[in-house]
């Protein structure tokens, strides 16, 4: 039977001769591709392909709050929904939601977007941010939030800055950026982060495993450095979506003439 063979990975394989299991150095990110405006029906949308992760995000609103008693007369409320598709995972990782894990991630994502969106501009409304993980390989919450940020900007929702998600962690004695599933499961620690690059504000900080105070300080520096590359990709995605539209217009114009 033709099929993919899942490699059996052990902890000792994760970091050898200064290289990680997929050949990256500690500071390297997985290949990242962001595409904005992938859905016609949504007000804003984005597809993030980050290593083997594939996450699609869609934004609807601001609209009337339902149920009405949840409405806040001073600001908009964010309804964030992170969920994994039933076919998204490898092995046990990625059961379809809603489950304990997706409820938790939806909650932390909601707090991230509440602090990035200028919610006070739209009192008594609700903004929906849906993040659907189509394929998972570790680091899906940061990929989801990165996608959600681009979808919000694509929808024309006012933002203070675009939130950027990235994870850092530790394998043996080495701190690394952007962990994949094996590094996440078999490594010593995993720390997903979301920041606002302009002000350096931290909107999400979670940790699994143990890190010393010095390690955390170094991981901060690595994340702030790596986040610049992610932000560049977010900007490029938005720019490309408008340029693509302009290019189509020019081509059509030439054809018509």
């Amino acid at each position: 039977m033709a099929g993919k063979v899942n490699k059996m990975v052990e902890k000792a394989d994760l970091f050898k001769n200064g290289k990680r299991i997929d050949g990256r150095t500690p500071m390297d990110l997985r290949p990242l591709k962001i595409t904005a405006g992938v859905l016609d029906r949504a007000q804003g949308s984005c597809l993030v392909e980050w290593g083997r992760n594939k996450v699609i995000a869609a934004v609807y609103g601001p609209h009337e709050v339902l149920p009405k008693h949840l409405a806040d007369p001073t600001k908009a409320i964010i309804n964030a929904r992170y969920v994994m598709a039933p076919f998204s995972g490898q092995e046990e990782h990625g059961r379809s939601g809603p489950n304990r894990r997706s409820i938790e991630i939806s909650k932390v994502a909601k707090h991230v977007f509440e602090n990035a969106v200028l919610v006070e501009q739209f009192p008594k409304t609700m903004i929906d941010v849906h993040m659907e993980v189509l394929q998972s390989d570790g680091g899906t919450r940061v990929a989801g939030i990165t996608a959600g940020a681009v979808a919000l900007a694509d929808a024309g929702i006012p933002l203070r800055d675009m939130p950027v998600g990235l994870s850092a962690g530790k394998i043996g004695e080495t701190l690394v950026l952007d962990l994949d599933k094996y590094e996440d499961n078999l490594g010593d620690s995993d720390m997903p982060f979301v920041i606002l690059p302009r002000t350096g504000e931290i909107l999400l900080s979670q940790m699994d495993g143990m890190l010393s105070r010095e390690d955390i300080s170094q991981a901060f520096d690595m994340i702030f450095e790596g986040a610049k590359k992610v932000r560049d990709k977010q900007i490029e995605a938005l720019k490309t979506s408008y340029e693509r539209m302009a290019a189509q217009v020019t081509t059509q114009g030439e054809t018509n003439q």
């Binding site: 804003g44 609103g61 601001p62 609209h63 009337e64 007369p73 200028l118 501009q121 739209f122 009192p123 008594k124 409304t125 900007a153 694509d154 929808a155 024309g156 929702i157 006012p158 933002l159 203070r160 800055d161 675009m162 606002l196 690059p197 302009r198 900007i235 938005l238 720019k239 408008y242 539209m245 302009a246 217009v249 020019t250 114009g253 018509n256 003439q257």
Partner: protein, 208 residues
């Protein structure tokens, strides 16, 4: 020189009130994707928030004992008192009104209603309205000339088209919205209207 700015980009060192921007620490930053040219910034997407004095088109969505609730192509609703209107309105009617006041939760109180005749309607992004109208109404004049339609636009982005070649007029408005951030738009729209009118045997111009 035109360039795109993105949320978080600094646009001025001084605090300035610009649509699609916000002020923090005495500086102005972009909050939306916008197009910056030498002297101004134009948002590429946005939402209509009612403002006192705006002329808008509302669509009757609810009839009450004392008046009507109108949908404004906005997250916020509005109300029109029955005392302010002589016409009896029905659900789905389009009404051209002025915003008298906006309360603290941004709901609008409307006055001076004028019921619009039956026609076709299109809801566009309110930030595209100036582009559809054009400088001194030039784009609107072009549209009316080629389609022979009577076109009314509310500041909230509802476009009402009556008479003439309505489908061509709506098609042109959609094209303007889709391509508003590109240069040479007026020429392309004129070209499109000319071609389509010629294909229809100049129907629009005759009616006009």
């Amino acid at each position: 020189m035109k360039e795109l700015v993105f949320p978080g980009d600094k646009v001025a060192d001084t605090p300035q009130r610009i649509p699609g921007c916000y002020v923090e620490d005495g500086q102005t930053f972009a909050s939306n994707v916008a197009l910056r040219s030498d002297d101004h910034i134009v948002q590429l997407k946005g939402y209509y928030v009612p403002k006192t004095g705006d002329d808008i088109i509302g669509i009757v969505e609810e009839e009450r004992f004392s008046g009507y609730n109108l949908a404004l192509n906005s997250p916020y609703g509005s109300s029109l008192s029955a005392r302010d209107t002589r016409d009896e309105l029905k659900l789905g009617d389009a009404v051209y009104c002025k915003i008298l006041a906006v309360n603290e939760v941004k709901e609008a109180v409307l006055i001076e209603p004028q019921k619009l005749p039956t026609g076709s309607m299109l809801a566009i992004d309110s930030v595209k309205v100036p582009r559809v109208i054009g400088r001194n109404g030039s784009m609107l004049d072009t549209l009316s000339k080629f389609t022979g339609s009577h076109i009314t636009i509310g500041k909230n982005g509802i476009v009402h088209v009556e008479g003439g070649n309505t489908s061509l007029a709506l098609k042109a408005v959609e094209k303007i919205c889709r391509e508003s951030h590109t240069s040479g738009l007026t020429e392309r729209i004129t070209q499109m209207l000319e071609n389509e009118s010629r294909a229809n045997g100049g129907q629009g111009e005759q009616n006009g």
